[in-house]
Amino acid sequence: MTLYVFYFLSFVAIFSALLVVFSKNPIYSVLYLIVTFFAIAGHYILLNAQFLAVVHVIVYAGAIMVLFLYVIMLLNLNHEDEPHKKNLAKIAAVICGGILMTVLVGTLRGASQAIPRTGGDIGYVKTLGRILFTEFLLPFEISSILLLAAMVGVVMVGKTDTKKTTVDINEPNNQ
């Protein structure tokens, strides 16, 4: 039963990931990427990590992809005005992607097969919280500082922009 669910989810994840790349319309790409995220959340549930699955859906499907969709809608990309890359750029992209895949496959080939611990309450919030605040306290705090730094940076960038636009609007010949 679990095995069939695993194969089904893997099929959905890989198929929709391929469609993300092959869709002409960027909106379809975003929607297929959301499907991929759901399939991966399903994998987390199979590994008994409900918290990770739900947070994955909230953060990726619920927040980041909404912003993606938001930006694409604002840009309103269509087939006609979509920039067509030159062949050289396409070939370069294929080579870069191929090298990245070789590296990934190379890393995974040497690794010993990990046995996921799925039993009991391994994925529960309590277990996760205890581990995060004892064993991994330093990396956890450092990553939160990293996020804070990113937020401050965004506020900085946003601040200068608003100043400029308010000045622009007030100039009479700009109306």
Binding site: I27, L31, I34, Q50, F51, V54, V55, V57, I58, A61, G62, A63, V66, L67, L69, Y70, M73, L74, N76, Y124, V125
Partner: protein
């Protein structure tokens, strides 16, 4: 196993039907409440007191001509309302509709599934709920729809943050994410073995959660995505017949589920005052508790409507200022306060 699946299947069907029925009669109640607040009579032609009005509306929706604009993206145009309806109906799964019933020595929990991350599941579904509006608004290929869709997504993201922060304070207090356990912790009420509801300990958190629930449901004063004075009909300008009906229906279902979640988190869920003093068997307490739970839900649905017909709509910059400059700092302050108080008293 089979018995459990059958029981859960029947429960799913019952909750599905009840949700649809409540949503249908919310449309009727909305007009009656509006009429009451504006000193009118409201719908009274179909059946006694106009009680058959939702059926008449539904039949009308089915018989109206269905228009799909030529320039729209047809697949996504149909996907939009379906997604809105799907996500609206998904949340009811984790809501504890009642305590346990004991029949023939077997335990029947009146909840479809008790996830240990129940609240987060509600959040997850609420956060993907905006796709229905966004996809529908964009695929209509209409400027007003697009603006509505963009407003919906910006509003949803802004208010989700303060909603999450309000919940963190509550979780600090209860120490669990499961909605059933949060309900059970509030058992008792006034009377012997007394125990207060979470709203007493978390008044600020409740206020923030309530405001954010209004924003998440796109209800007035936060109904900027379909602001008819500026955007014709907002994201559903191009929709007609049952597709429009599904969008409107999804809004009422969202309202029903939000009321249920608010009642569970802050107003004791299926618990009611003097429940330990009645001297009834536990089955009766469960049945009465479910009745009380629905009473609380109906009150909050009424509250949603009351606000709608009392307070005018915000301007868009006011909405963003309220979300980012008032709600989020208040919610963070609430977390700090809750942490401090629980540290002092433990």
């Amino acid at each position: 196993m089979i018995a459990l699946l059958t029981y859960k299947g029947i429960l799913v069907l019952i909750i599905f039907t009840v949700t649809l029925a409540v949503a249908a009669y919310s449309t009727y109640a909305e007009r009656k409440v509006a009429a009451f607040l504006q000193d009118r009579i409201g719908p009274d032609r179909a059946g006694p007191f106009g009680l058959l009005q939702p059926l008449a509306d539904g039949a009308k929706f089915f018989f109206k001509e269905e228009i799909i604009p030529n320039v729209s993206n047809k697949t996504l145009f149909i996907l939009g309302p379906s997604l809105a309806m799907l996500t609206a109906l998904m949340t009811g799964v984790v809501v504890p509709w009642g305590n346990t019933l004991w029949l023939d020595g077997k335990e029947y929990v009146l909840q479809i599934t008790d996830l240990n991350v129940g609240i987060l599941y509600v959040f997850g579904v609420a956060s993907i709920g905006v796709y229905g509006i966004m996809v529908g608004g964009w695929s209509s290929n209409n400027k007003f729809s697009l603006i509505g869709a963009i407003r919906a997504s910006a509003q949803m993201i802004s208010y989700e943050i303060s909603m999450g922060l309000a919940i963190i304070a509550l979780i600090l207090m209860t120490g669990t994410l499961s909605l059933r356990e949060i309900s059970l912790q509030q058992a008792g009420g006034v009377g012997s073995d007394w125990n207060l509801w979470n709203v007493v300990y978390q008044p600020l958190g409740f206020l923030i959660f309530l405001v954010c629930a209004f924003a998440e449901c796109n209800r007035t004063p936060f109904d900027l995505p379909e602001c008819e004075t500026e955007l014709v009909g907002g994201y559903h300008t191009e929709y007609s017949s049952m597709k429009l009906g599904l969008y409107l229906f999804a809004e009422y279902i969202n309202m029903f589920i939000s009321s249920a979640v608010i009642s569970t988190l802050y107003f004791g869920g299926f618990n009611f005052p003097f429940m330990n003093d009645l001297g009834l068997s536990s089955n009766w307490i469960t049945v009465i508790g479910t009745g009380f739970f629905f009473g609380k839900i109906v009150f909050f649905i009424f509250f949603f409507m009351w606000i709608r017909w009392t307070i005018p709509r915000f301007r868009y910059d006011q909405l963003m200022n309220l979300g980012w400059k008032m709600m989020i700092p208040l919610a963070i302050f609430n977390i700090a306060l809750t942490g401090l108080v629980s540290l002092v008293f433990k």
